[in-house]
Amino acid sequence: MTRLRRLTRQEARSLLTGLLFISPWIVGFVAFRLYPFFASLYYSFTFYPILASPKWVGLENYAGLLEDGRFLSGLFNTAYYAFFAVPLAALSGILLAMLLNSEVRGLSVFRTVFYLPSIMPVVVMAITWLWMFDPINGVVNYFLEMVGIPGPAWLGSPQWSKPALIVMSLWTVGGAVVIYLASLQDVPRELLEAAELDGANAMRKIWHVTLPMISPVIFFNVIVGLIAAFQYFVEPWVMSNGTGAPADSLLMMSMYLYQSAFQFFKIGYASAQAWVLFLIVILFTTILFRVSGRLVYYGGK
């Protein structure tokens, strides 16, 4: 109350105006984010078969997860995917952007070719690649055979199904390429010229000038990519018809969560998985922010 009284009439007015402008967000935030956030935390401590009301069970769901082989598979598969897909996307994204930034002819054509897959419906992409990876009639093994490599069974093999998805994920790296390219074009020319005068070769210029200058953008893309990788769902779901086959090798955390909720109707158990997923995302985001303090260069901004 004391705090409110200290507001001048002008301040109170603009507070009201501001809140009115953002009121759609307030409604959406409270109803569709804040409430569901705490509701799922509560459900995660309950036994809640969708048709009955939730019953408090404490940490039972979380304890159950530790002994649930399918949950652990999901955890492993998701970690495997993120561990390879996120760094590879960063590397290939930066490489492609650097190639495009080196005064190539047909820049806009290449940029379009690289970007276009990003707007393809994910379902269409998943099905197209599914058939491209067909071990007998697919185009991937067809080309591998041309160069003398016997192609694996890809999505038919528990060892090769995740590598197949990682290869496919690189197909949508174009959005990141556009961002990297724009940031490369912002690297001050004087810095590169100064490094050249000091006798730096191309590799040293990239390592000591270009990469530090675009490091905030790399950091942004890695964070976004990592959060997306932990929630990887549509591609493995569509390609395995919602099963995670073969041998649960494509069962991601998100997929087992979905199955638990909507196929086994275990709302409490699924919510516990959602919270484990959330805590993992928070953990890695925090680690990345910590590490970035040393690696990311925010000079001048």
Partner: protein
């Protein structure tokens, strides 16, 4: 070669000259390697499109032959009419449009209002609340989707498009951020002049700021349209009545029901679902590229 090394012409850099021939060779080699690499990547990026279009025109006998048939003979356009008949594809198309258009309206309206509140109105606590908006960007949708499902179920919204459309009227942190960045670049004097004339904040928003923000609003509209058009997860949770299926649900369902031997007409359906967005992209390419850079760079 020998003579010119002794007497460098003055308009050449001294250090370039002794190795002129070898540096020329290096340049040709690096250039060649560069284009080779680019073309290899381009091949990787084009291949799935080629595969999709080629398969959509194949005769059943051409699906499983070695070597791969790239140009079907004869070209089988009937795959497209098969897709329309077999899978009620036109209905999926209409359904998807029925979701995408209101969602675009919702996204443009709500996010511009909200972003204006964060960019152009000064109020106590604003920056703290904006931090909260950004924080929700890292909140995984998998944390909230079960309670959301239960909310919409209680509202009797399952098997309606409301769960997909209504939230677009309540703001999206990504779009709020994007529009806020844009609004902040507009000169404050514009609003001040109008304020002196006694214009209300809502009027300044609608008559001065919004018209200037058209490029940014176009980005929001485009991204929301693509997002709604391509969405699979939302419809998967909230829609299970086949008559209400969207394109993505429909195509995923076709492939679940039919296998590789039916890939020709399923790829035809896929091509039809992709063409509208590809056409949209080519007409709005600049807006697109600007939009992506806007969102990425200032992060």
């Amino acid at each position: 070669m020998t003579a010119s090394t002794e007497l460098p012409t003055p308009n050449r850099l001294a250090n370039e000259h002794p190795n002129a021939a070898s540096s020329q060779v290096t340049r040709i080699v690096t250039n060649g390697a560069k284009y080779l690499l680019l073309l290899m990547f381009a091949f990787f990026f084009v291949l799935p499109w080629a595969w999709m279009v080629s398969t959509s025109l194949k005769n059943p006998s051409e699906l499983a032959v070695y070597p791969i048939v790239w140009i079907p003979n004869p070209i089988r356009w009937d795959n497209y009419s098969d897709a329309l008949r077999q899978a009620d594809f036109l209905r999926y198309l209409v359904n998807t449009i029925q979701i995408a258009i209101p969602s675009v309206i919702g996204a443009v309206l709500s996010n511009s209002l909200i972003a204006y509140g964060f960019a152009r109105v000064r109020w106590i606590g604003r920056d703290a609340v904006f931090t909260l908006v950004l924080a929700t960007l890292i909140l995984p949708s998998f944390v909230t989707f079960i309670p959301l499902y239960l909310i919409f179920k209680n509202l009797n919204w399952i098997n309606t498009y409301n769960p997909l459309i209504v939230p677009t009227f309540l703001g999206n942190p990504f779009f709020i951020f994007l529009l806020r960045q844009f609004f902040m670049t507009l000169p404050e004097e514009l609003s001040d002049a109008a304020r002196v004339d006694g214009a209300s904040e809502l009027r300044i928003f609608a008559q001065i700021v919004l018209p200037l923000a058209r490029p940014a609003l176009a980005v929001v509209a485009l991204f929301q349209f693509i997002g709604s058009w391509n969405d699979y997860f939302g419809p998967l949770i909230f829609i299970n009545d086949r008559a209400l299926y969207t394109i993505s649900l429909g195509i995923a369902n076709m492939r679940a029901a039919y296998g590789f031997s039916n890939s020709a007409w399923i790829m035809a359906a896929s091509v039809m679902s992709v063409v509208p967005i590809v056409v949209l992209f080519f007409f709005t390419q600049r807006t697109f590229i600007e939009g992506i850079t806007m969102t990425g760079i200032k992060g």
